[in-house]
């Protein structure tokens, strides 16, 4: 079971109270960008085995979006943090590194 803590309202609940919003920290390539960048933005996702960053919405609770760092294999959640974040904050990276020393870092 995936258990998330919403950073907006502090509620800890299991997955069915939330709704997944796909990979986090995507860089948007809009009109005027070249085809390869646009294709990669639209269709290419990391889909890693292990540490992953995702968008989640607390859909049955406060309704807010937030970001989560979790392991796709064990469902362990390393941290949840505000959606208004362009890249994983340093404390989140530290939390992941302490539990997954072999992790290559956020790329």
């Amino acid at each position: 079971m995936l258990i998330l803590t919403c950073p907006c309202c502090g509620v800890t609940a299991e997955e069915t109270e939330f709704h997944g919003g796909g990979e986090a920290h995507l860089k948007r390539f809009g009109p005027g960008s070249d085809d390869a960048d646009y294709e990669s933005y639209m269709f290419s996702r990391k889909n890693p085995r292990g540490v992953h960053f995702e968008r989640w919405r607390h859909v049955y609770g406060c309704g807010k979006w937030f970001l989560a760092a979790r392991c796709t294999m064990t469902l362990e959640v390393f941290a949840t943090y505000p959606a208004q974040t362009l890249e994983p904050p340093a404390d989140v990276i530290t939390a992941i590194k302490s539990k997954r020393p072999e992790w290559e870092g956020f790329v």
Binding site: V11, A13, E14, E17, Y60
Partner: protein, 188 residues
């Protein structure tokens, strides 16, 4: 247009190990805006008599209550016939502020659960550890397949607010979860 308001399931009631009652008409006003703003705190205090609630808490003031719904949303509870006046007063007090006020009284249904084992009944429907909830707490979650707000009004009393369109569904699942002889006895 008819001026007569009728609640979703008038007088619906079921007896089980917890009593489920449709609570009738309640005045409900949604106020959205920056809850850190002094203007909102002042308007709410003057018009409802209640201070702004801390995160996931309810502040009661006589017949009115102010409920924390999300980081930028409050639900103001009041007698049903006072809701239009209170809405107008809030709207006037917050003119020019970055805030919205809406009277949602007739968009919702309210059920009251009473009995010591209300946690056991709701635990069958909601993905929530109810031992963490005490009097004056609010928890928004889902009950089976629909959204619900659970307001803990006393040690043996809970109000549950849902959309009016799912009132019959909510009453049915609550009655089934509270039916006599089906106590899970999780919280004893």
């Amino acid at each position: 247009m008819s001026e007569i308001s009728v609640s979703a399931l008038p007088a619906a009631q079921s007896e089980g190990f917890v009593r489920v009652t449709e609570a009738g008409l309640r005045g409900m006003i949604t106020l959205r805006g920056d809850l850190a703003s002094a203007a909102i705190a002042k308007a709410v205090q003057e018009i409802t008599g209640a201070a702004l609630p801390p995160m996931r808490r309810i502040v009661q003031a006589g017949e009115n209550a102010v409920v924390w719904m999300s980081p930028d949303e409050l639900l103001i509870l009041c007698p049903h016939d006072q809701a239009p006046g209170m809405e107008a007063a809030l709207r006037a007090a917050l003119a020019g502020e970055f805030a919205t006020v809406a009277n949602v009284s007739d968009a919702r249904a309210v059920f009251s659960l009473s009995g010591t084992a209300w946690r056991d009944a709701l635990a069958k429907l909601c993905p929530v550890d109810f031992s963490t909830l005490g009097t004056g707490d609010i928890r928004r979650t889902r009950a089976a397949q629909v959204a619900a707000a659970i307001l803990v009004t006393g040690p043996e009393e809970v109000d549950l607010i849902c959309f009016r369109s799912v009132a019959q569904y909510m009453f049915d699942i609550l009655s089934a979860a509270a039916s006599a002889g089906s106590e899970p006895a999780l919280y004893v």
